[in-house]
Every structure is written in structure tokens, then in C-alpha cells.
């Protein structure tokens, strides 16, 4: 597969940030009360993610290793501020719905995670594609969760009444608790149908590792997830 397309596939399906990596849970749980706001949040994050991946990849040889995280934060925060001001100027309704969660994109772990694990080691264009893939995956996750919550909790889909109003909606699904139920439910479905992802493919020893077993590229933190496999290997 083309390496650019591979990045998109990786972000949308194989390492979907919402259902597989379980990253960025704060906006995932908080703003997905309806499909529209999930979509808005996803697209806003995608915009920041593409630009931050691109910029950080450009700067990857300039940023000193020891202070890379603060440097990433500065880049991301700048981009988020730009996006926030743009939204306030041109898409005021989006700005109002998302509110506090726009500045919080700065500390969104998908963005920092991609900067750390991908953009800091790859070329700018490839990193931008990684950002697109991850962003679409995130948007897809948020919109799906928002869609299910909206349908069950309010009886509407993208604000169109689908279930007749005479039937009372199950309000808990548009309340915070409902977000957890829906996220768990969708992740369960994804596991039941064994959609190919980084976590439920069991082909070979190498595939079990989230980093693909390339220790040269490992910064250590991934080992926590791989601990079991690595100890097994050692024992053998």
C-alpha cells in the first residue's frame, strides 16, 4: 500500500484514536451530546493536528531532545489559539458550543502523542498525512458516539426528529454518564466484529507489539503496553 494511504488507513481504522488507542477521552466524553458537536470537535482537532504534525516534523531537527515536550506544547498552543480566534470570528456558533474544550485541545493527548511518536521522526508530508488519518479517525469516533447518544437520548439524528416525540427518549444518554456507556458499547461492537486494529490482531509475535517491535524507534513509554510480550520473549 502507498505509504501515504497507509497513514490514513492506520489513523482511521488500525489505530483509531477513539476506539483503539483510547486517547483524547476528555473531549470524547464531554462534547459528544449530539452528532453535530462531535463532528465540530473532531474537525477542529483535525485542523490543529494536521498543522501541528507538519510544523513539528519540520522543526524536528531543531528542537533539542531534552525540552521537546514544552516545545511541542508551544507549537500546539499557538495553533490552538489561532484556530480559536478564527472560530470566534467566522464560526461563532461552533465557538459557543465547544466553549472551554477548544483551549483544552492544547493538552489533547492525541496531538501530543502523534507529535511524540510520529511527527518527531518522520518527514513533514508523511506527518501531515498521519495527522489527516488520525484526525478523520477521531472525527469519525466522536461523530459516531454523538450520533448514538443523540439518537437514544434525544430521538434525533443531526437535529432531525427520527424517533417520534411521543416516545420518551432515554435521557441518560445525553447526560455525562451516557457517554461512558456508549463509548464502551461501540468499543465492544468493534471487538465483537474483530475489526482489524492494533489491539486485536494476533498474527505473530511481532504484530503483538504496538510499536511493531522496532526497538530503535522506541522511546520507552510504549514498553508499558508491551511489557507482557517482552517478558515472554525474554523467558524464551
Amino acid at each position: 500500500m502507498n505509504k501515504y494511504l497507509e497513514r490514513l488507513y492506520n489513523g482511521i481504522i488500525k489505530e483509531n484514536p477513539t476506539f483503539v488507542l483510547m486517547l483524547g477521552m476528555c473531549p470524547t466524553l464531554a462534547v459528544t451530546t449530539c452528532a453535530i458537536s462531535g463532528l465540530q470537535m473532531g474537525l477542529t482537532t483535525t485542523a490543529v493536528l494536521i498543522m501541528s504534525n507538519f510544523l513539528i516534523s519540520l522543526l524536528r531537527n531543531v528542537i533539542p531532545d531534552k525540552i521537546r515536550i514544552p516545545a511541542y506544547i508551544v507549537v500546539v498552543a499557538t495553533l490552538v489559539t489561532v484556530v480559536e480566534l478564527l472560530l470566534e470570528a467566522y464560526l461563532y456558533t461552533v465557538f459557543e458550543t465547544l466553549g472551554l474544550y477548544i483551549p483544552l485541545i492544547v493538552v489533547n493527548c492525541i496531538i501530543l502523542g502523534r507529535a511524540e511518536s510520529y511527527a518527531s521522526k518522520n518527514t513533514p508530508v508523511l506527518s501531515a498525512f498521519d495527522g489527516i488519518g488520525m484526525g478523520i479517525g477521531f472525527t469519525f469516533g466522536l461523530t459516531t458516539i454523538g450520533l448514538v447518544r443523540e439518537l437514544l437520548g434525544a430521538g434525533t439524528v443531526f437535529n432531525f426528529q427520527v424517533i417520534p416525540e411521543a416516545i420518551d427518549p432515554i435521557k441518560i444518554f445525553v447526560q455525562p454518564a451516557g457517554a461512558f456507556f456508549v463509548l464502551a458499547l461501540l468499543t465492544m461492537l468493534q471487538n465483537v466484529f474483530k475489526l482489524k486494529s492494533a489491539t486485536n490482531v494476533e498474527k505473530s509475535e511481532k504484530d503483538k507489539l504496538a510499536c511493531g517491535g522496532n526497538c530503535m524507534e522506541c522511546h520507552g513509554y510504549q514498553c508499558i503496553a508491551n511489557k507482557e510480550v517482552l517478558t515472554e520473549k525474554k523467558d524464551n
Binding site: D168, I170, K171, I172, F173, Q175, A177, F181
Partner: protein
């Protein structure tokens, strides 16, 4: 061949107590309260109970079939959960909501955590909390279905029959500063959810459980006593016996104290832990009833109590003999 020569592995002395026996004892003990609910609210109360029990058992059966696990519906725990959930609903509850609440109670609260013994909170109360959060207006709708018509020829079916019941629950009336009739509250001639109205019927059931040694009185008594003490201190009426009795008989306190707080799975096993648990529930219920926005607080108190059970057990764990005790001074 004589039985005397049978060889078997230990244990040789077995207790006759099984999950099934306990659960059916609890179900039996719940009968008086349910019977009174049917008498008080009419046949629709029975329909709600049947829907809840049926949904609970069915959910457990379907889940275990789908997951290819041993089917455990015969242990009676789903039956008890269904009954308790029905007792927590007002009689006017739409049946599909009762069904949904039962499915939630069994599927989300109990089965996905590993089934009976693994649930971290009382399934029936979890189902109730789900229904309160989802359909709040229906859960607090204590309007009688229809006043009873004395002449059947008037067109009233037993279905609609409701004995003289006022529209507000006694606790809501207390909260508004109105007076209530203690005797009515004790017998159960009041409005409320299906199973909570009659303190008398609940006490009869509870007495049966105590005699059968299914429950100990430790949790219920510390619960109710600490609640009474809390109400004396903070209830605003001081040592007003009428007020205190109304609060003890009113709402879900009796049902909660004897049937839900004593749930084996979600209450501490240590003696000290049970006392702490009871006091915690009493104080929480008091706080919810006196300072909270709603007039009732038992179900959330028990749910909160369920959540801290692991912590209570951790601090009340007895010391292992010979190893962890204080060193003997010579």
C-alpha cells in the same frame, strides 16, 4: 455394600445453605410487601412486577446463552433483582421503561462485571438510578392511576382500581411542612413506590429473613439508628417522635435497610465494616433527605455506600493470627 465404607474427599461437613435457598428466602420475604403493593395500587402493580422479573431473568438467560456461559437463572438472583426493582417503581411507570430498567440492572450493572458476586453495586438500585436519570418525571409521578369507583358497573376495571391514595408521598408532604398520619404510613395506606409503602409488610418479611438467618440485624439497625440520630440532630424538629417515626416509616428506608443494604455482594463482610457501613448509610440518607433537593435519599445513599465497601473492608480487615498482631512484650 454399606454406605459406611464410602470414601470421599474433604470437606465432609457441608452447609445446606445455597445461593438458591438464600435467594428464594429473600423472594419469599418480599411477598408481603408486594402483596400489599398490589392491594394498595391495584393489579397494575402485579403487571409491573411481572415485567421486571421477566425482563431480568430473560436478560440473564440471553446474555449467558450468547456468551456461552453456564445459565444461572435458576439461582433466583435475577428474580430478586427484578422484584426489588419493581418495588422501587411507581405503579404508573410505563411498562417498556420498567423493562429497560431491568435490562440495564442485569446487563450493565451485574453481568458485564462478571455476574452474581462480582457486581460492585446493587443491580436493582443501579437500574433505579438509570431510570431516575432517564425518565425522572415518570419516576416521581405518584399520581394514582385512577381513583377507585365503588360500583363496578361504573366501568372501572380492577386494573384501574386504586385505594384512597393521596397524590404526594408522605416524605414530600413532610418536606413541605405538612403533617402526615403515622399509622397510615406504618400500615402502608399511602402513596409511594410499589413495594415501599407498607413498613409493616416489610417488617414481616424482614422478620422471616432474620429467623431464617439469611440476614443479620447489624446493618439495618445501625442504618436506621444512625439515621434517627442524624434526624434528631439536624432534622430541625429535635426530638419530635411523630416526625422521626414518619421519616423512618416513610420512603424507601425500611425496604432499603432490610432488603438492599443487606445484599451480600455489595455490603462488607467484616463485623466492624457492617457497622461502619450502616452508620455511613444512615448519615448519607439523612443528609440527602434534610439538605438535598429531593425528599428521598435512600437509594443513592445505598449506591454510594456500595462504592466505598472495598475501602471499608480494607480498614476493618482482621489481623492474621500470629503474624500481623502487636508483638508480645516480654
Amino acid at each position: 455394600m454399606s454406605d459406611m465404607y464410602n470414601v470421599s474427599a474433604s470437606p465432609h461437613a457441608r452447609s445446606k445453605v445455597t445461593t438458591q435457598r438464600i435467594m428464594f428466602d429473600v423472594a419469599l420475604a418480599l411477598v408481603p410487601a408486594g402483596a400489599f403493593g398490589i392491594y394498595n395500587f391495584g393489579l397494575r402493580a402485579l403487571v409491573v412486577m411481572l415485567v421486571c422479573v421477566g425482563a431480568c431473568v430473560l436478560t440473564e438467560f440471553v446474555y449467558e446463552k450468547l456468551m456461552k456461559k453456564t445459565v444461572t437463572i435458576m439461582d433466583g438472583s435475577a428474580l430478586v433483582t427484578g422484584l426489588l426493582l419493581a418495588y422501587n417503581l411507581p405503579v404508573s411507570m410505563p411498562l417498556w421503561m420498567a423493562f429497560l430498567g431491568s435490562v440495564f440492572a442485569i446487563l450493565i450493572v451485574k453481568m458485564v462485571f462478571g455476574g452474581l458476586g462480582q457486581n460492585f453495586m446493587n443491580p436493582a438500585l443501579g437500574g433505579r438510578a438509570f431510570l431516575v436519570a432517564s425518565f425522572g418525571s415518570y419516576m416521581n409521578n405518584f399520581e394514582p392511576v385512577k381513583k377507585v369507583a365503588t360500583d363496578v358497573a361504573g366501568g372501572a376495571t380492577p386494573w384501574d382500581a386504586v385505594d384512597a391514595v393521596s397524590s404526594a408521598t408522605p416524605l414530600a408532604m413532610l418536606k413541605n411542612g405538612e403533617t402526615v398520619d403515622i399509622l397510615d404510613m406504618f400500615i402502608g395506606n399511602i402513596n409511594g413506590t410499589i413495594g415501599e409503602v407498607s413498613a409493616l409488610a416489610i417488617l414481616v418479611g424482614a422478620a422471616y429473613l432474620v429467623i431464617r438467618k439469611v440476614i443479620s440485624l447489624r446493618i439495618p439497625l445501625t442504618y436506621i439508628l444512625s439515621f434517627v440520630v442524624f434526624m434528631i440532630l439536624f432534622g430541625g424538629k429535635g426530638l419530635d417522635v411523630n416526625f422521626l417515626l414518619a421519616h423512618v416509616c416513610g420512603g424507601g428506608l425500611m425496604l432499603g435497610a432490610f432488603f438492599m443494604a443487606t445484599d451480600y455482594v455489595t455490603s462488607p463482610i467484616t463485623v466492624g465494616g457492617q457497622v461502619i457501613f450502616g452508620i455511613f448509610l444512615g448519615v448519607l440518607t439523612g443528609i440527602f433527605r434534610v439538605f438535598g433537593g429531593s425528599s428521598e435519599g435512600v437509594s443513592y445513599a445505598i449506591l454510594m455506600g456500595n462504592l466505598i465497601v472495598p475501602l471499608i473492608e480494607k480498614i476493618t480487615l482482621p489481623k492474621a493470627f500470629g503474624r500481623e498482631g502487636r508483638k508480645h512484650e516480654k
